[in-house]
Symmetry: none
């Protein structure tokens, strides 16, 4: 069973709205074990919609089309599907009744236009879900099928979940489940990870039902995604567990989290587990670490606050950084120590560096000193990023928190 | 000149990421007056990528393909383009040098894999923009052209703006100029703005060559986009200037900036002009205001730093907030005053509120107190946001800075 998704709407091509529907439908299809081979977006143009539908129907067994089911003159998806089916449009007395009742129920007169939504291609059936006034349509084309659903996400989702997926699954007769699991990593480049896992990828190649993929996601880390396919949920789960164990045995220490976990949630969880409070002292990142931590609900359980010491005077006077260069090991160690004292925290992260675009104290942009204080012991690490200002700041955030995470894990192992 | 966009990546079909790139590219093409007829997304599969590229190239004069330019084995866009061009792959010594230098600059050894990124189809040229290690490619196919850019938004955007759009415009030879100007506003809802400008939009309707559009952009404000089309650049410029004057005469005080200006750059510029230094005291926003300010190059000219007083103890002990409720007028006034004293700043912004999801001190999430201190005079404003945690934090940032901006403008008018 192969499926394609066609989104109709000139506003999608003009970038006035982002097509989140196709991604959501793609996810539902994947979870149901149905292959989705292509997403297409076209404007509100009869020839181009027809061409897109016919092409998709040639390649696939089923096509899901979103949008163009509204009541206005430029909503033409219904009519184009009738052309593709080579049938005429007929008014459904049942739909006339339902749509009229919806307007009456809201105490509003029905604009004449809305009756267009009661027309459907002969041979098509309306879906039972109908949260708005646009019916979704199941349109058989020979052995294949076109599903038409509105572009309004709420209406679309109810119809996909309630009618389209069950219908596709029963048509496919296949009983396959697909699941993914994402291992979040930090400390290696995408190609470095690929090299470490090259042998494992080769081993999987072929008919194992398991694949590995990499995705660099900036401040969110570098993701290793395991995808498994098998006849049953239980078998899929077993494949995922087995593969996670294998991957961890190769890149173990680089993995900091799974799926929706990110570096902030992982560090906060570790702090809460160990009963520690955290403060940050930020120069180059200018509050970004604190801002990311406090975006997590419940962060107040461990995070006390931050001194953003952007001006040198603030470093010297509030954090007790001694005179001398402020992008240096000495400075970052003092910041890490100072902020623990000022805010009364158990552990801290401190950052000072050259965000750019201009050099500072003779250092090129991208040079960063990261300091951490754990149980009063301060450590400093020098890192370099080749990226632009925004990217350097973002990669500094995840790198600094990862350094703290590793120290926290060591601390737990010792105790 | 007709263009299509092809996005490559199995993760798009599986809905693991939403394809925001195609929407963004669609917007740039529309602004440049180039028709975009279709967006297609395909997985990392050689046959299907090739088919999508060939089909798009049949219908259109130019194809922009995003993704699949990374260093790993599943990044195959380069090779497929060579097949479509019917040429072999050749290694570019110049690219080998550039990519190697990028790794050296970061003080890291280059994985062998990354050299794949120095291969390009014979006859293709690398784009001059190269923020990462993946070069963008301009690939002539007869009279037509394929542009290949990485899927990483930052890299993609630089290449589209710097190379693809100018190249398309020069190829199109069209003599119509299209330009947009964005007025950034804050303080009115989208529908409120639409009502204020309803008469003006009606006046424009038809053949004026000028259109107005609205775009709500969270922390970036509510944008009013003026788009003008005319035979020459000079005429377009005159249309834009005339329309900007008309719009400003209606919604004047709501406009805080133009085009790439945002609330941070506008506030920083005003501070530098008036010779003032700024500090922030942040509880609910947790460093987000400081982080946004320091993302602007040159912010150190006015911004001294921040005390992120997430824990109440930090509010009381570092900022001298008196005992009592911490989400209150009294607390925010003390924070605004306290941070000026602690960091030695001329003006300050302070924020305390309930980010949620849980209520605090009997207040529902979304309640925020914003304080400002200018020349020692403190003021407080209470605002309420109905949004979720992240959205409430973001809208607080732009609201707080807008309050400071208005006070700074009043200050300049008095002096």
């Amino acid at each position: 069973m192969r499926c394609e998704v066609v989104a109709v709407g000139t506003e999608l091509l003009l970038g006035q709205i982002v097509d989140t529907n196709s991604a959501w439908i793609g996810e539902q299809l994947a979870l149901a074990g149905i292959d989705c081979l292509r997403h297409t977006a076209v404007g509100d143009n009869p020839q181009r919609i027809r061409l897109a539908l016919e092409e998709s129907l040639n390649r696939a067994d089923a096509v899901i089309v979103t949008g163009g089911l509204g009541p206005t003159q430029d909503d033409i998806t219904r009519d184009i599907i009738a052309e593709v089916m080579n049938v005429e449009m007929v008014q459904s007395p049942e739909l006339v009744e339902i749509i009229t009742a919806k307007f009456l129920g809201r105490g509003r007169a029905m604009p004449e236009n809305n009756l267009r939504q009661a027309d459907l291609p002969r041979g098509a059936t309306a879906m039972k879900e109908m949260p708005g006034t646009a019916p979704g349509l199941v349109c058989p084309v020979g052995e294949k099928v076109i599903y038409a659903v509105p572009g309004v996400p709420l209406e679309m989702r109810q119809m996909i979940e309630g009618t389209v997926i069950p219908d596709l699954v029963s048509r496919s007769g296949e009983v396959a489940a697909i699941r993914s699991r994402v291992l979040r990593t930090w400390g290696q480049s995408e190609s470095g990870l690929a090299e470490m896992l090259a042998e494992e990828i080769e081993r999987l190649d072929g008919t194992s039902g398991v694949t590995l993929a990499f995705l660099a996601s900036g401040m969110e880390g570098l993701k290793v995604r395991i995808t498994a396919k098998a006849p049953t949920e239980t078998e899929v789960e077993a494949l995922l567990n087995d593969e996670e164990t294998r991957v961890r045995s190769i890149i173990g220490p680089l993995v900091f989290g799974i799926d929706e976990e990110n570096m902030e949630t992982v560090v906060l969880k570790e702090l809460v587990t160990q009963g520690l409070t955290l403060a940050t002292a930020e120069s180059m990142t200018g509050g970004l670490i604190a801002s990311r931590l406090t975006d997590i609900p419940g962060s107040s359980q461990a995070f006390l606050g931050s001194v953003v010491s952007y001006a040198n005077a603030v470093k010297h006077e509030v954090l007790n950084v001694p005179d001398g260069p402020v992008v240096s090991e000495q400075a970052v160690l003092s910041m890490a120590k100072g902020v623990c004292e000022v805010l009364g925290a158990d552990v801290s992260v401190a950052v000072t560096g050259v965000a750019g675009p201009e050099p500072q104290e003779g250092n090129r942009p991208g040079l960063v000193w990261i300091g951490t204080s754990v149980d009063g012991e301060v450590e400093a690490v020098e890192v370099r990023f080749p990226y632009d200002r925004t990217m350097a700041r973002q990669l500094t955030v995840i790198t600094a928190l990862d350094i703290l995470r590793r120290r926290l894990i060591k601390r737990a192992e010792k105790n």
